[in-house]
């Protein structure tokens, strides 16, 4: 298989670089690999679009769970207070 054909066919490697690119800057080789593959592969183009949206949604979902204002159980607090007083 020629190098060109391999790059066009290898969705696994291309999606790997798609994910990596969302965290860090790709090396020139990785960037060219990803861009060249995407030019030929509509499925990976769709994967890239969906993956970026999943990243944004994951951020939102994780931030939402951190924004809930929660209160510790009163009994647990009492026990905790007692433990602290004991150790002082």
């Amino acid at each position: 298989m020629t190098a060109k054909r391999k790059i066009v066919n290898d969705c696994e490697m291309a999606t790997f670089f798609i994910e990596k690119s969302q965290f860090t800057k790709l090396t020139p080789y990785e960037y060219c690999y990803m861009t060249f593959h995407l030019a030929f592969c509509s499925m990976c183009r769709m994967f890239q679009k969906q993956s970026k949206l999943i990243t944004e949604m994951t951020k939102k979902v994780l931030h939402l769970s951190g924004k809930r204002k929660l209160k510790l159980d009163k009994n647990f607090k009492k026990q905790l207070q007692a433990k602290i007083e004991d150790r002082l």
């Binding site: 391999k6 994910e19 969906q50 999943i54 994780l62 209160k71 905790l80």
Partner: protein, 202 residues
């Protein structure tokens, strides 16, 4: 202000700075720390335990509190370390557990030997192509369920990345994961998440 007054003011300030009053910790910081922990570990029991461990650890190291930061910042830093310890345990368990590593192999079915998508896992249009969908409550709920299905370590990485906004290098260092393992996990996690959403949406 005279020199004497000035020096007294500085003394007062440093006295205030150094004051740590453990008797008030529960009433002042317990809910805040609990909310902080829940946002990262989800399990209520674990979050409670981590808050308790934080206070007890802070008590043991009370002398180290030099008042350079506020009590809340100091306690939060201790809690963050405890949470990362917990993530590290998950990472170690994940990387040493044979069953988990075998579980990782499931990703191979997404692609053929030549790297092409397997027919049944090909990305398809399923309503996740429009940016407006990010605010869709129903899809967020499905994503939450899909995130919960991920191995603990994968969720830990997402949390460190997206909640604490840590860089890849820091995550690798904290979790004692090699850089190559880190990228493999990120890749597999995202492919699994996308597949889970496609399967469960509509």
């Amino acid at each position: 202000m005279s020199l004497k007054q000035e020096s007294r003011a500085i003394d007062d300030k440093s006295a205030n700075r150094c004051a740590a009053d453990p008797r008030l910790w529960v009433s002042k910081y317990a809910d805040y720390l609990y909310t902080y922990a829940i946002g990262r570990v989800e399990s209520q029991e674990l979050a409670q335990d981590l808050v308790q461990e934080t206070f007890l650890c802070a008590l043991e190291h009370l002398k180290q509190f030099e008042g350079r930061s506020t009590e809340q910042t100091w306690l939060t830093a201790i809690l963050k370390n405890k949470i990362y310890d917990n993530f590290r345990c998950k990472a170690t368990a994940f990387l040493t557990s044979k069953a988990q590593l075998e579980g990782m192999d499931h990703e191979q079915v997404f692609f053929n030997d030549d790297g092409h998508w397997q027919d049944r896992y090909r990305p398809a249009y399923f309503g996740l192509n429009d940016p407006d969908v990010i605010g869709n409550k129903e899809l967020q709920d499905i994503l939450r369920k899909c995130l919960d299905k991920l191995p603990g370590m994968w969720l830990a990485i997402f949390t460190m990345r997206y909640v604490d906004e840590e860089k890849a290098k820091v995550i690798c260092k904290e979790l004692k994961v090699t850089s190559s393992n880190f990228w493999v996990i990120i890749h597999r996690a995202k492919i699994s998440l996308r597949e889970c959403l496609q399967k469960n949406w509509r």
